[in-house]
């Protein structure tokens, strides 16, 4: 709980020692945040009372990340004539978000002024919570929060793991990953959870899915030295899928696949081509279906370098990859044979995805599936002004961030992901709800699965 102590020390160091010699009791406002310990996809209720009536205040949230950066969000409010501010009901007049936004203090967070550039907020250790210091400041403050003393503050924990979820390191049959198992006897449906080209072992979405009742395997599929051929690579995913399927607490015919970005591509490819693995359903977030046959994923990541004439660099020096593969739309040999998919598949995309031409790909996938006669299995959602990184709700949006392709000797670049913060955050919230209901319908319901939500 080092971060916690650090925040507590920060509070007492910045505050001058104050001995109030008056006889009257303190009149500080009362801040209540519910729940103080919640899952990251749960809503917060933030209420301030005992303020002077009609007075301007700022609600501020501060997070100290695992990478040692500070992130903040704030909203400007005016108390009503009972001396109250209720974030879920009152309008924010300014700050990092405006309007009636019950979760604005989380999704509108951004690195504090003076931070390093290109940051992205991701929790790597899911066994501990994210800590947010929620404070009330007098007046409408927009900067210099660290130099001022708030009127009051509380600490809030946001967890990716519900109590009782078990986390198990997997090193089996060449597959490396982390398995998350919900509490209870089971058996449970399962999910193979795959991220994108940044690689590494990203556990938070799996931990959250297990907190919702799915045995979930987060896979590390880039750093393996063994995956030198496309064939070996394909077998790796099949093996991973079977590890879940054969787990004693998993219902074997209720295992699905969940991918983001490159992970989506793998999901579609395995669903279409595998004779061994039969996912019950698939979720593909921000994915394209450009899978060069007989080539490895590593080679796919290398693609940008050889296609560098198609790479765009925008006015902010951000790399835009979305146009690099559009030409592949016309070449069937460069695309996953989606006509062979025979399970319900949900595509979640952002219209402003600057990394992958998600909109065009979704259209093409629909065309191909309709032509093949399996179009009834496809559901699509496309969110306006939403970028590539469609993550669990209330996590901050980054229009661009530092990116280093995994396992390949490339330099770090600033990749443009796209999206405008408010619509992107709304999309994350809506997408997550639809994803959970899709999974509930296809993996939990006892009726035969249907594609439409």
């Amino acid at each position: 709980m080092l971060g916690l102590r650090r925040l507590a020390v920060a509070a007492s160091v910045h505050r001058p020692v104050r001995r109030l010699s008056t006889m009257s009791p303190p009149t500080s406002p009362i801040l209540s945040v519910q729940p103080t310990r919640g899952l990251v996809d749960e809503k917060l209720k933030v209420v301030v009372e005992s303020l002077p009536p009609g007075s301007p205040v700022t609600l501020h949230s501060l997070h100290h990340s695992e990478d040692e950066d500070y992130w903040e969000a704030f909203g400007h409010y005016v108390s009503d004539f009972r001396g109250m501010v209720s974030v879920s009901e009152d309008l924010s007049f300014g700050g990092t978000y405006t309007g009636k936004e019950d979760m604005g203090l989380l999704w509108s967070m951004r690195p504090v002024p003076g931070s390093r550039k290109g940051l992205r907020l991701r929790k790597m250790n899911v066994c501990s919570p994210m800590l947010h210091n929620i404070s009330v400041y007098s007046g409408h403050v927009s900067e210099g929060f660290r130099e001022q003393t708030p009127l009051t503050s509380v600490l809030v924990e946001r967890w990716y793991m519900a109590p009782g979820v078990k986390r198990i390191d997997i090193m089996e049959k060449g597959v490396r990953g982390t398995l998350f198992i919900p509490p209870g006897p089971g058996p449970f449906p399962g999910l193979l959870d795959m991220w994108g080209g940044g690689g590494g072992l990203i556990e938070y979405r799996s931990a959250l899915l297990a907190s919702h009742g799915y045995v979930s395997l987060a896979m590390d599929y880039f750093n393996s030295q063994e995956l030198e051929s496309a064939d070996l690579e394909f077998k790796y995913f099949e093996t991973a899928f079977n590890i879940i399927k054969e787990h004693p607490q998993v219902i074997p015919d209720r295992v699905g696949m969940f991918g983001l970005s490159l992970g989506s591509l793998v999901t579609m490819h395995v669903a279409a081509e595998s004779t061994i693995v039969k996912p019950r359903c698939c979720i593909c977030v921000s994915g394209s279906h450009f899978y060069p046959r007989d080539r490895t994923i590593k080679e796919v990541i290398m693609e940008p370098r050889s296609n560098s004439h198609r790479l765009r660099i925008d006015e902010n020096n951000h790399h835009v990859w979305r146009d690099m593969w559009i030409h592949l739309l016309d070449d069937p040999s460069k695309k996953v044979d989606v006509g062979k998919i025979n399970c319900p598949i949900l595509l979640v995309n952002g219209k402003d995805d600057q990394n992958v031409p998600a909109d065009e790909c979704a259209e093409d996938i629909a065309l191909l599936m309709n032509a093949a006669g399996n179009g009834h299995l496809l559901s699509r959602v496309l969110y306006p002004d939403t970028g590539h990184l469609i993550e669990p709700p209330y996590s901050p949006h980054f229009r661009a961030s530092n990116f280093k392709a995994a396992g390949v000797a490339t330099k770090t670049v600033m990749l443009l992901w796209g999206g405008q913060t408010k619509p992107h955050s709304d999309a994350q919230e809506d997408a997550w709800r639809k994803i959970l209901s899709f999974l509930q319908h296809n993996l939990y319901s006892s009726t035969p699965p249907r594609a439409k939500l």
Partner: protein, 437 residues
């Protein structure tokens, strides 16, 4: 029901909550009219297992909502949202006389809530439930700091709320069992009050010198709070349970050093030798040890040792001297202290002295001695190491479980409102932010 195709879902919200927060338990997608048992299991720090359970019948859409549906039997019955916690009892085969108390407040109580098929009453551990979840119950909110205090030879722990402060302060005293018991102070800090839990019967200094503490010990504790940079020095209260009440009243009435803003006395009495030391107070209680009664189950009843309430003013705190609001909480079935009789006498004394406007008495029928924070199990009797004899004896505390649990819930809510009204100013009575309790 085929477990392989079981789609029954169990949801408990919040999954991580404070001990005094309510939770909602929802069972969904059970077959219509399905009979089931909702079960709670807790393994305490001493390694004992505690359980509670309620019998329910799912409605036509297969739902059971513990906050709305009646339990048809089990360790509690009727509509009892929190019954699975307050009716927890040691599992069959446990040793007698157990009492559930959290000593390490930095980690939560973990309770496993499960659903079993049918209306069952035993053998839960030999079966596989249909579903189960784990719920954490915390005595400390995030951001509360725990600070051990050893200066001035005190054995105490200070709990500070998160935020810059300054906060009102509170001295928190338990009773004749001694030890440094932190859980109520940490919970009060979670509600915005800087609270100091003080061990005054078994502190290090007493263990080393074999001498009981003097009254300056309490005044030193008060000073620590008063001088703390994050505590509002003129907003300090005191709370005592059982023997802690005796100290609280003594300090409130006679201390020149302590300027208490308010006081709370739970399950105690004002009867004590007025100029007595700690030793004198304890000796006074034991003077009438022959008035000890023993119940049919061989439990010791000590309530008569201080009865009748004396009329001799040398043996009871002069309640007319009190200048601060006082909340007195008593259980009418208290078998350990004559709390009800004392409360009545305190009221009379204050009416005669003209300061009874300061007094609020909360008297709960069928509640016993150990009126604790809500949703924790009730112990009608438990093993208690008496300070006088140093032996472990089975003390009868009293109280009927359902009524006692209701009393705990009501008393805690009223206690928090009382503290907030008296330690903060400008608050609205009945603050909505307590509504989640």
């Amino acid at each position: 029901m085929d477990r392989k195709r079981c789609t029954l879902k169990l949801l408990v919200q919040p999954s991580r909550g404070l001990v005094d927060e309510m939770f909602i338990i929802l069972v969904q997608k059970a077959p219509s009219g399905f009979q089931l048992t909702v079960h709670a299991l807790h393994k305490c720090e001493d390694g004992h297992s505690w359980e509670a359970f309620g019998h329910y019948t799912a409605d036509t859409i297969g739902t059971v909502n513990v906050s709305e549906d009646p339990s048809l039997g089990g360790t509690y019955s009727g509509v009892e949202q929190m019954g699975l916690l307050w009716s927890l009892r040691p599992v069959p085969g446990s040793k007698p006389g157990l009492r559930l108390r959290k000593m390490n407040v930095q980690i939560p109580m973990e309770v496993t809530i499960s659903v079993y098929q049918g209306h069952q009453t035993e053998g839960f551990m030999d079966q596989v439930p249909l579903a189960s979840v784990v719920v954490e119950r915390w005595y400390m909110a995030p951001g509360v700091s725990r600070i051990p205090i050893t200066e001035d030879r005190l054995s105490a722990t200070l709990f500070l709320p998160p935020g810059p402060g300054p906060f009102p302060g509170l001295l928190d005293l338990w009773g004749g069992g001694g030890q440094l018991v932190e859980y109520r102070a940490s919970l009060l800090a979670s509600h915005g009050i800087a609270s100091l839990a003080l061990d005054y019967l078994t502190p290090k200094i007493t263990m080393e010198t074999r001498k009981m503490v003097d009254l300056q010990y309490f005044e030193k504790a008060y000073k620590i709070l008063e001088q703390h940079p994050q505590v509002h020095g003129s907003s300090i209260g005191m709370l005592g349970l059982s023997l802690g009440t005796s100290i609280t009243l003594k300090m409130a009435a006679y201390s020149e050093v302590m300027k208490l803003r308010c006081a709370v006395c739970i399950s105690g009495s004002h009867v004590q030798p007025v100029d007595g030391s700690m030793e004198d107070i304890l000796k006074h209680f034991n003077k009438n040890a022959d008035r000890t009664r023993v119940s049919e189950e061989n439990e010791f009843i000590w309530r008569d040792l201080l009865l009748p309430v004396p009329s001799d003013l040398a043996f009871k705190v002069d309640m007319g001297r009190l200048k601060c609001p006082l909340l007195v909480v008593v259980g009418e079935d208290d078998q350990n202290w004559p709390a009800s009789e004392s409360a009545m006498d305190m009221k009379e004394m204050m009416e005669q002295a003209g300061n009874s406007h300061l007094l609020t008495v909360l008297s709960y029928p069928n509640a016993g001695h150990l009126i604790e924070p809500p949703y924790t199990p009730h112990a009608r009797a438990s093993l208690f190491r008496s300070m006088a004899t140093r032996e472990k004896m089975m003390a009868l505390w009293g109280g009927e479980t359902a009524a006692h649990s209701l009393a705990q819930e009501d008393a805690w809510r009223k206690l928090l409102v009382f503290l907030r009204e008296n330690l903060y100013s400008g608050t609205n009575p009945g603050t909505p932010s307590l509504s989640h309790l």
